[in-house]
């Protein structure tokens, strides 16, 4: 922390990055660390995607084709963990690192040394997590929710490595969140009051508070698992007076805010992109801020809607049902505000806007299926079926991941100084958007027909929809390789230089910097009117 002053001092602003590989190991620069986060997230996205391909290949036909059921379970578990903790969360932290100082007019993040540490914990955490695949007894196989007693009494030996990996990821996330909060609260340019901050900054501020509130609870849950497994405690063991259902309460007290941790920055990104391409200011800025706050607040009060079938009393079911459905109100405020922003706007449809529009449509579909699941009596039918799988992939893939892709297209020209290829961006968009619907939409029907999730084999009547879904999965997976090529192509020059403003109607401090921006963003604070 002593370096805070040093990095913000003037004498540092003229030197560039160190040379060679050590630059990335010792860097305390927010752009370098942002890039590291984004590349780690991309690698984990491809790794988790490869696991999804194994899952969909196995489910292409009924019967056991390629993998044993034990390995299938390890794939579903690691796919979930890698995508949630390895792809989506680090990607958002990467964008936060790149963008927050530029958006609020600061030279760098407030705590650059801690920033370096919080990134470098992650590669070790994920190497440890993925290495469990090669251990005797196999990788964790109890699903990403690691319910006790599956993960305690019956978990494979490698579970202890999984627990340690989760601890490292948690510490990393907490440090990242503290850094974000301190940066936003202490480093804003003069004149930038809280209600003048861009929405991406607002959503990240609230996300960071969610992170420091619930990541410690997750750490507590895995610590209890660790002592139950190795030190003879009985937190989740009924034989010793504990209760396995309590695990689910503790887990979802973390888990529900966690889903908002993944989606709130997406709301921020869409609120930046839509006004740019509609060439109108964001409709209802203040209500957007309050809506995000309301969603974050409610996220702490709805966790047991994941547990309707655990035998809760009627009063509990009713409370959690009403509280859950209430979240649709602030979410609806956001959707309508985005629609109102576009209303009578001079819209153009560059790739970031296409992905943002797809986000609004498809995330709303995920929101509606979430409403269906939030209704207790209906959830009794849908619980643990493919309907749930369809729901959370609509909100996470066409929600969080599409927003991440949109953000990449939107800010990559700023980051690199080069325009991406609009033609290939569009090809990527149409392939992804069509394929992702072919992939996940039939899963609604499978779930309604009763196909359970997390199984390697299924009854014959589910064959057709599974084959369609798998075909969609293969195309969706392949089209992300186009995205990878496109990103590399843009970094290496792309299809020409980007202007400083990049987009005709882009507003915000980051667009006043040159493209690519200097190593230290604002060495003298800009004046915000």
């Amino acid at each position: 922390m002593t370096s805070v002053a040093a990095t913000t001092d003037d004498h540092n602003t003229h030197h560039g990055p160190a040379k060679g590989l050590m630059r990335w190991v010792v860097t305390t620069n927010h752009k370098d660390i942002g890039s590291l986060y984004l590349w780690l997230a991309f690698i984990m996205f491809l790794a988790g995607g490869a696991m999804a391909m194994v899952i969909r290949a196995e489910l292409f036909q009924p019967g056991l084709q390629f993998v044993r059921p034990e390995f299938f379970n390890q794939m579903t578990t690691l796919h979930g963990l890698v995508m949630v903790f390895g792809a989506v969360m680090p990607a958002w932290t990467g964008f936060a690192n790149w963008l927050l100082p530029m958006m609020i007019g600061a030279p760098d993040m407030a705590l650059p040394m801690m920033n370096n540490w919080s990134f470098w914990l992650l590669p070790f955490a994920f190497i440890m997590l993925v290495s469990t695949l090669f251990m005797e007894g196999g990788a964790p196989n109890f699903g990403w929710t690691f319910y006790a007693p599956l993960s305690t009494t019956y978990g494979p030996d490698s579970t202890d490595f999984f627990i340690f990996a989760i601890h490292l990821m948690g510490i990393s996330s907490i440090m990242g969140a503290i850094n974000v909060i301190v940066t936003i609260l202490n480093m804003r340019a003069p004149g930038m009051t809280l209600l003048k901050m861009p929405l991406f900054v607002w959503t990240w501020l609230i996300t960071a508070f969610l992170l420091i509130a619930v990541m410690p609870v997750l750490a507590g849950a895995v610590t209890m698992m660790l002592t139950d497994r190795n030190f003879g405690t009985s937190f989740f063991d009924a034989a010793g007076g504990g209760d396995p259902v309590m695990f689910q309460h503790v887990f979802w007290f973390f888990g529900h805010p966690e889903v908002y941790i993944m989606i709130l920055p997406a709301f921020g990104v869409i609120s930046q992109i839509v006004p740019t391409f509609a060439r109108k200011p964001l409709f209802g800025y203040t209500s957007m801020v309050y809506a995000v706050g309301a969603i974050a607040f409610l996220s702490f009060a709805v966790w047991a809607h994941h547990m309707f079938t655990t035998g809760m009393p009627l009063a509990g079911e009713l409370y959690f049902m009403y509280a859950t459905v209430l979240i649709a109100v602030p979410t609806g405020v956001k959707i309508f505000n985005w629609a109102a922003t576009m209303w009578k706007g001079s819209m153009t449809f560059e790739t970031p806007m296409l992905f943002a529009l797809a986000f609004i449509f498809l995330f709303t579909i995920g929101g509606f299926s979430g409403l269906m699941l939030g209704v207790g009596p209906a959830d009794m039918q849908y619980h643990d079926t493919y309907f749930v799988v369809a729901h959370f992939h609509y909100v996470l893939v066409t929600g969080a991941v599409f927003a991440l892709i949109a953000a990449t297209y939107y800010w990559l020209p700023k980051f690199t100084g080069n325009m991406y290829s609009e033609k290939w961006g569009r090809i990527h968009f149409w392939l992804s958007t069509i394929a992702v619907n072919v992939l996940f939409f039939p899963q609604h029907f499978l779930g309604l027909a009763g196909m359970p999730r997390r199984i390697p084999d299924y009854a014959l009547q589910f064959a057709d929809f599974n084959m369609i879904s798998s075909l969609g999965a293969f195309v969706f997976g392949a089209s992300q390789l186009i995205f990878l090529c496109l990103v590399i192509h843009t970094i290496r020059g792309g299809s020409g230089k980007a202007t400083d403003q990049v987009w005709e109607a882009a507003e915000g401090l980051e667009w006043t910097l040159p493209s690519p921006p200097p190593y230290h963003s604002f060495s003298t604070a800009p004046e915000v009117k």
Binding site: M1, T2, V4, A5, T8, D9, A106, P107, A110, L111, I174, A177, I178, I181, V182, L185, N186, M187, R188, A189, P190, I212, A213, V214, M215, P216, V217, L218, A219, G220, A221, M224, R229, N230, F231, G232, S234, F235, D237, A238, A239, G240, G241, D243, V245, M246, H249, V250, F253, G311, M312, P313, G316, F522, S523, T524, A525
Partner: protein, 200 residues
């Protein structure tokens, strides 16, 4: 603003970091506090089917001769425990307030002495508050010698306050292998699984 006054920015950064770390520590503690909170909440509301695990008294209850309640008995064994266990009576009709008795049997199918612990539960969950066990084998750990079989009594009362819409109450037990076993030398592998040394 830290650009203009680095010293001041650094000081306020440090204060803020300290406060945020306090939140982190508090939330870590809260995760553990959920454990007793959960038990207290379940005790007070009687949800979750948690029923008493120490003996209660049957005094002061008036028998309601006008009402019948069916009590069903269920028993199961956790897969690791090589016991056979179940109720001797499947169900019984009782008046609320009336002291009743039934028995469960347990048989050790293995060739070693094993200590087991039965964990009781009542369904529907809201009935748990109105179900009093006066005597129960679940109040203490049970040791069965190799091949031994035993009938174990349960004496209970259904309180007259049981909500009128509940006509059937199910009492269920799951027998677990206790972590304290009589002889550590006989079976190392078993204790290794739990990762604790048996204290013989």
């Amino acid at each position: 603003m830290s650009v203009n006054e680095p010293g001041g920015g650094q000081r306020s950064n440090r204060t803020l970091v300290r406060r945020l770390l306090l939140v982190v520590v508090a939330m870590f503690g809260f995760g553990f506090a959920l454990v007793p909170l959960y038990d207290v909440f379940c005790d007070v509301t009687g949800i979750n089917g948690k029923t008493n695990r120490v003996a209660e008294q049957a005094d002061g209850l008036v028998v309601d001769q006008t009402r019948w309640v069916t009590v069903e008995f269920v028993g199961s064994v956790q897969s690791d425990l090589p016991w056979s266990f179940g109720p001797n009576d499947v169900k019984m009709r009782v008046h609320p307030g009336q002291l009743s008795e039934t028995t469960y049997y347990a048989e050790n199918l293995s060739d070693r002495a094993i200590i087991g612990q039965a964990v009781p539960s009542v369904a529907p969950g809201v009935a748990a508050k109105y179900f009093r066990k006066i005597e129960c084998f679940c109040f203490s750990q049970q040791e069965l010698a190799a091949g031994a079989r035993r009938d174990m009594p349960v004496r209970f009362v259904v309180e007259p306050g049981l909500p009128p819409e509940i006509g059937t109450v199910t009492l269920s037990y799951t027998f677990f292998e206790s972590k304290n076993q009589p002889d550590a030398e006989q079976d190392h592998s078993n204790h290794a699984k739990f990762g604790v040394d048996a204290e013989a």
